[in-house]
Subunit: 438 residues, 2 copies
């Protein structure tokens, strides 16, 4: 490694004070109105410093003076050592064992809509099954004309598709039902990720086995020690479900179901059975443990909702957030993610005052159905305390609710399907807190 | 790790003979015509075996019997141990030093359009600069009103954008100019990758410095030991160039220019200056080494073309290919990638007879400009010898040429910009060879 602590960087001076004053109102307005086209003078002399080559220290960094690291054969590349804090993280007190546990995607450190495979959150019920793909088999049986068993090679001979989808655990934000618990974007929202899956349509597989006339439900089951199983409605299976063997181009990661995972676009992550070993076709739902005592919404009167599959529209501002304090007065970028299990995101609104006034954010293309959508919003911060919120609207007309609206319908017993509007309090010193305003 | 070599998998029998006979013509036709919607009976009883649960060996795999690997805190996830061959690879004899060398993306092992960051090919001229982002500075000077120096934090306050782009080295396939040299999809085509970049528009940065009236050209220069520098035309810079700090969501990888890289959509990879430290604005091109003695096309008469920036439309079949032999008669999936530096891919054609007859492949959405496009084509192989080709057409009407067409214009001195149609010879035993048919 080449560090350069003895030789300071070529520019010195008051560069990164926590909250320097930077821009006057007039500059900001012209900038905000012409973002990306006419930002002349934006940072001149303050955020960026005027360059004066004649006055620079007479040295260049060591990394410009010495040869760097050579190309190696057969490397699988790794992140920079300076990014070692950008990792999945767990909460040690949350689960009794590591095999049935969870860690969280570092959403606050990411941009765009792709989650790198190494950072996709994990949720296991019996630990990660380590499976040799040559030995893996997938069976389809039950109410079919021809029960079939497939090798991985067999599956790769079916017509192939590739699709971008988000996957969100139904319990994402579950700890936030009764109030703001976790002062962290990663922990309060990080059970979601988004990759491009490649594989085959479940419809093609089902049709190769031949569905019987009374086929109406499927049971999908994993080959892990928990034998994770969930009921899938046949309509959904025939509509857009996939059997995936790749994510972001390469083979699935072990913790994401290598070598085979069910993809159930827009539905809660628990249904996306990993290490998929069989699908049984039936005429009734199975009501397994994971869709009765778990992964149902417990209402105020003690009854639970049956089958709450789709993840409703949701959004979160990933910067600023508790991990990303505001470091400068003047111009800042607000950015975040929005998604809906019912289709495309149509709009994301931003509020600076806890939900009284809203302005539409800029959605980055492509806006794909049941996929994360990245939004950006340019913002001038004057150093005042701000209640920052985002609110997603999807193409069905659904609007992301407040926690109050959710509680009015479902009480306070719920854990799953908490798609409330997140409020971040930006304090006058730039630090950001997770708060609930209602 | 839990392997299961003592206990064989639950299904035995002749599962993966290299070239089993599978499907009759009638089945194939109905399948091909209704791909993804009505493939009933496709694999029944042959590629997949009829499941007979009563007749299965009385055991289940160890990975279903024992708890798997628990969730760890702070992991950056890695690929399965069974995918250890899916890595970037280099050619030891190709370059004199490792610091000015190259390795190749394993295109044959990938699907979809995203290249995982750990598999994006590398090309360095002075090794990988290891840069602490806190110490990195980016300067803009020359024909500007206000020369400026930026920290990474400064840049992150500009309006943010995220875009999917391919990056191809101008020398990709360079060794193939005189004939089929490398019996490998990875080595013959693997100097291309595709990720989503996040950063700021170069236009916004230039406008913050204020362009002088005679500004017409830029020089972009890296902070690595080679001080890599290239001339960029101002029109392109103002059109769609980016200064990127993220790829596929996370920070750039060190070998891809961490913490800052120039993105020049559709143009040759050498211009996408890594470890970007300065942009100088001028009124003339610089004609640096890397755009005169290197990265120009040497014609038959000894003269070189000046400035061949855009990567013309190209495609390659990534399976089958030398690394992916055909393992079965009957139904197989042909898949590959197409791209154009001049916009969107409009169509990809497939030939089975070395270019005499062509059929359109299926393009997977989204088809984005200057981005890889994934294509699929369902195919029945009868066990005969086949000359397999793909041919890309882009939205400008440009058609990917044969090597003969390229040689007619440019002779045989060229190295760069070899976007010839690739021919794979599928032999009767299923093995695949790199050949040139003209």
């Amino acid at each position: 490694m080449i560090r350069n602590k003895k030789n300071p960087p070529v520019v010195s001076g008051p560069s990164d004070q926590p909250v320097p004053g930077l821009m006057d109102r007039r500059t900001l307005l012209s900038f905000g109105a012409a973002a990306g086209t006419a930002a002349a003078g934006l940072l001149g002399g303050s955020a960026a410093r005027a360059a004066n080559p004649d006055n620079l220290p007479p040295h260049v960094p060591e990394w410009s003076q010495n040869l760097g690291v050579g190309v190696e054969d057969a490397p699988y590349g790794q992140p920079s050592e300076f990014e070692s804090e950008v990792v999945r993280r767990n909460v040690s007190w949350l689960t009794a064992t590591t095999e049935s546990s969870v860690n969280f995607t570092p959403l606050h450190a990411l941009d765009g809509i792709i989650t790198p495979n190494g950072l996709c959150f994990e949720r296991h019920h019996g630990g990660v099954a380590i499976i040799d793909p040559e030995d893996h088999r997938f069976m389809i049986h039950g109410l079919v004309e021809r029960p079939l068993i497939f090798t991985m090679r067999d599956l790769k001979r079916f017509p192939r598709i590739s699709r971008f989808y988000f996957l969100e655990c139904a319990a994402n934000g579950g700890m936030e039902w009764r109030g703001a618990q976790l002062n962290s974007c990663q922990f309060a929202h990080g059970m979601v990720h988004c990759v491009q899956y490649s594989g085959v349509s479940l419809r093609a597989i089902l049709e190769s086995a031949g569905l019987k006339a009374n086929a109406k439900w499927l049971l999908a089951e994993g080959a892990d020690a928990s034998g994770m199983n969930r009921t899938i409605p046949l309509d959904k299976a025939l509509d857009d479900c996939m059997i995936a063997f790749s994510m972001n181009g390469e083979a699935l990661r072990p913790e994401q179901g290598y070598p085979l995972r069910l993809v159930v676009p827009g539905f809660e992550g628990n249904m996306w059975v990993k290490w998929l070993r069989r699908i049984e076709v039936g005429d009734q739902p199975w009501h397994t443990r994971e869709e009765t005592s778990k992964y149902t919404d417990l209402l105020a009167d003690g009854r639970a909702r049956r089958f709450t599959w789709a993840m409703d529209a949701k959004s979160v501002i990933t910067s600023p957030c508790p991990e990303n304090p505001v470091l400068h007065k003047g111009h800042n970028v607000i950015t975040g993610l929005a998604w809906s299990g019912r289709g495309r995101i149509r709009r994301v609104d931003i509020s600076m005052d806890g939900g009284r006034n809203w302005t539409a954010a800029r959605l980055e293309a492509p806006v794909l159905p049941m996929c994360l959508t990245r939004f950006y919003h340019e913002w001038e911060w004057r150093g005042d305390s701000v209640l920052l919120e985002s609110r997603a609207l999807d193409e069905t007309g659904y609007v992301q609710p407040t926690i109050e609206e959710l509680r009015n319908v479902r009480g306070t017993n719920s854990i799953y399907h908490n798609n409330r509007i997140q409020t971040w309090l930006v304090n006058a010193n730039g630090e950001v807190e997770n708060v609930q305003v209602s």
